[in-house]
Subunit: 137 residues, 2 copies
């Protein structure tokens, strides 16, 4: 049993059952799935960035949400935060090795999203036409 599908098939079992209410997958996926994390990760994949650089690069993100997002990524060990005690303060962010290894997968997901967003959009339109009064988002 080297790589392949063994891990995943073996993965649902401990996930679903009562002794393992949370197997760790959801932690990662909710982090990746939150509103801004992926955009931060992809931006940092291009190199080290300062706080304001990140905010300028990621349109629409508020100061508060950028702070929260990078803090969570830092806590998970995906991003390294470096403070230079200058005046005014200067802080840089960069991906850790762990973060970089995730970046590769995130990029694949992003590429998939890009490749299939038309399919998804069409499917949604069809569904909405067939089910005029649904309440799903």
């Amino acid at each position: 049993m080297s790589q392949g599908h063994m891990e995943v098939t073996a993965l649902l079992e401990p996930c679903g059952k009562e002794e393992h209410p949370d197997c760790g997958i959801r932690d990662v996926l909710t982090r990746v799935g939150d509103k801004w994390s992926v955009l931060v990760i992809v931006e940092l994949a291009s190199g080290t960035r300062r706080f304001r650089e990140l905010q300028r690069a990621i349109d629409g993100i508020s100061q508060r949400m950028l702070t929260l997002t990078v803090r969570r990524l830092e806590r998970d060990g995906l991003v390294a935060r470096t403070v230079f005690p200058t005046v005014p303060a200067q802080v840089t962010y960069e991906l850790t090795d762990l973060g970089s290894s995730l970046t590769h997968l995130v990029k694949q997901l992003a590429d998939w999203s890009l490749a299939h967003r038309e399919d998804i959009a069409n499917s949604r339109t069809d569904y909405d036409v067939a089910n005029p009064d649904h309440t799903i988002h």
Copy 2:
């Protein structure tokens, strides 16, 4: 421009700027990142399942959330829903080709989560020790 990183680097640009408030990546990622979708997808990766089978396989999911989750996956074209008008009603769910193509990436993400959950847990512990009174989840 065959594959590689071109798509991704070209992907942040239309995402961040005002003319493209949403480039479609977030749609997919929030779907993958929501609480139950991945567990449903991975379960369906093993084959067709009925509603109750899914609920039994995924411990802790409520009837309502299972309904919402499979409906959203159906609307996105990732899951096909088939109704047999028997009494009582019988409904089966299976991955579409689109869903299967995503499954592969989801499994990689799940494997990554499994492989690195110790690292992440340790990183969080370290962070929490270093920052005793933070409010981040």
